[in-house]
């Protein structure tokens, strides 16, 4: 039995040794927003945050993140009725197509903007190239990140919006 903290909630789970975090999140915690795409850290669909850092949950043993703060796509919005600025930008740019990769894309984008609120094109490409989108929405993902970056700037320079 291990105890995981996901989106601020405690999940006592039965995870056999070596079982990747991805499957614990999806099957035992029933948080299905985090996706399986490749299982070998090639596609980014399974991206979650561990203590704020983006990781590939398909190759991360669940036991290795016990006691750390895990955040999934379900946990990034500030509250139930408000979207995260990045999610909002994703809607405004009409970014998702099939949508399957988008949880992972958004988790990578949030991590990027936390680290670097005003990334250049090259920095965006570098940070996002581990996330495959087979629907090819790269242009929209990039625009959405820039939109979110601008919105972040506006909200930090205008304390009323915070």
């Amino acid at each position: 039995m291990i105890n995981l903290t996901i989106n601020g909630k405690e999940y006592p789970v039965e995870a056999p040794a070596g079982m990747p975090l991805l499957w614990v999140i999806r099957e035992q915690c029933e948080l299905t927003g985090t996706k399986f795409g490749c299982g070998i850290a090639q596609c980014g669909a399974c991206t979650v945050h561990v203590d704020g850092q983006p990781i590939r949950s398909c190759i991360t043993p669940a036991s290795s993140v016990e006691g750390k703060n895990i955040t999934t796509i379900e946990g990034i919005a500030p509250d139930e009725n408000t979207l995260h600025i990045v999610q909002q930008a994703w809607i405004e740019e009409q970014t998702p197509q099939c949508g399957y990769c988008q949880s992972g894309q958004i988790m990578s984008a949030v991590a990027l903007l936390n680290e670097n609120p005003t990334p250049s094109d090259e920095e965006i490409e570098q940070a996002m190239s581990g996330n495959i989108c087979r629907c090819g929405m790269y242009g929209r993902i990039k625009s959405a990140i820039k939109r979110a970056s601008a919105a972040l700037q506006a909200s930090t320079s205008n304390p009323q919006l915070q």
Partner: protein, 741 residues
Amino acid sequence: MKKWTRRAFIGTGILASGALVIGVAIRPGNRSSKVAGLIAEEGETVMNIWLKISPDNTVTAIIPHAEMGQGVHTTLAMMLADEMDADWSKVKFMEAPADKEYANYVVAKGFIAGNKTFPKFLEGTIDGVFLTAVKTMNFQITGGSASVRFTGQQGMRIAGAAAKAMLLQAAADTWKVPVEELKAEKSIISHPASNQSATFAELAQAAAKVKAPKQPRLKTPEEFTLMGTSQPRLDIPAKVTGAAKFGMDVILPNMKYATIKAAPVFGAKVKTVDTSIPSDSEGVLKVLNLENAVAVVAEGYWQAKSALDRLNMEFESTENDGKSQDDIFKGYQMAMDKALEEESIEEHFRSGDALIALSEAETIVEAEYQLPFLAHATMEPMNCTAWVHDGKCEIWCGSQNPLGAKAAMAEFLDISPEQVTVHNQLLGGGFGRRSETDVIKQAVAIAKEVDYPVKLIWSREEDTQHDVYREATISRMKAGLDQSGNPVAYSHQFLFKHHPPEAADIPYTVPNQLIQFTSPSSFVPWGNWRSVDHSVHGFLTESFIDELAFAAKKDPLAFRKSLTQDKPRFQKVLDLIQEKSDWDSPLPANWGRGIAIAQSFGSIVAEVAEVEVNVEGKVKVHRVVCVADAGFAIHPDGFKAQMESGIIYGLAAAMSGEITIENGAVAQSNFHDYQVTRMSDAPRIETYIINSGNPPGGAGEPSTPVIAPAVTNAIFNATGVRIRQLPISKTDLRVSIQQTT
């Protein structure tokens, strides 16, 4: 021919909830009967329900297509709501279940068997709606870029217009005023002269009793209020919160997980496997020998996968065990030679006498091309949840073909289709792969051995190695030019003809043409891959025409224009792309521009690629300009998104996409060796849409066929190296750059 004794008509009814439904009903036997009251009376079956008006005045469009990111739910709902003058903010949609409530499989099948064609004169009529319903649900599936073109144009719009006509008539009858004086706007019917108005919902009861018009009047484009606008897609909000449910995300009470390994060589059988539960595995419930595959059922996917990886299994040998990709290509060459020699080659198209014209031509251009197998690699690996219980079968998956799945599983289990229910989920990419039922059949085969629901998940490796593939192929092309560089003869011999049948046609004016094909047998399973045969012929035709332009010493864009003078839509597309791509402006050294154009699925798409080839021979596509004659783009932003998507999908294939066969099996296994386009390799894409006033063309596929030739033509422009084998990564471009620098 099967005699058709049933009559289709539009039916209306009020549900117990007070909602008005409008759909198409059929009644066996009696040709002259009228429908009154509920649709599904004794002896009648509801074919398809198109829309529902609820007491709170919401209109629900019921969409018989799967959502895989093409925005079909939004676009089709817009088409219906626009004709109906419904208030868009109160319009909802639901996907029509593949269920007997909505489709009578047996009847539909009988009808199709008796009458395969869609008579032109029925388009735009209520009978046409019925035919569309049958066509859509039984064999059209979500594919062929057809949803808007057929279901939308011939189904949704007419159902919406019919509903409006009935509501107007109901208001006219109630208020005793002439129907011409009434206005429909935002889900309200009003009579300005007498200052009366009523919501759709208030009129629903009365409208249900009005006879549906035989041929409702459709709006002209000037009257559209929703069609032609980019309404935010209804499916997007759930896709940014993780709430959207794909087949992979289904969770049922007491559900277990399975994964599978099929015989690596296609068609091989399991020889030995120990089906006892391995002692060293945790959570394993069952090991199953499925004849051509081994499956493990466990408490979770990872437990099942770990156990499967450690199982000892052997497969029977087959005649294909030793086959390599080289053998396959050699076999193709031999098959082509043999077909020519024995004159068994089939004719695709002939005009004039190409052989004589070739012998008399001033210049001969000849080229041979080769294309690889391609996998679909949908983002969401194949999966399906099945539960076989109480003589019934329930299936949860994202399918492009839910009714086909229902029929196939009924047959597989030998039960009636009514006992099979398909709960269709969102698709994490389809591209043609999810029109197959192989995975569903595996899930059902596993589920029938256990008494709980099972979710079968394929590993990415299984997904790559047991796809149905775009064929690998070779092609021989030859053309003759006259003294002024005009093509006078064109001959093309290709392999395999699937669909659409016109894919190998050329749009160019060449008086003498001979296009032939032969179809050798192949043990590698074939499947629809985004744009199907156009994915092959787009590359062949547009590469070769570029070779002809070069031989004729003409600008490739001008050459194409001069050969399509009888096609005003092509001329317009070429003019616009010349301007938008800055075609005539110079580029730096080692940069090149290439153009390609093709008509497919009702749209004409041209693309100009701008590439740079660096000293290491690495190709970087910087920019793609895309001009599409969409006929009429119902949802312009959605159309653009599809163009972008099809370009990136085709680019991945062009640059590095290649499935090869080694020892009879697929050599690639995951994204590290079946590489796809990532953000760092993605070009800037600019799309321009031309609404030419023609019927709406397809969006999901037509941008894919032209990207590969646009890029290889650009590489030729940059380096002088003509790429005749895909993917591009097979060609070493270093030398060419050293020579030119």
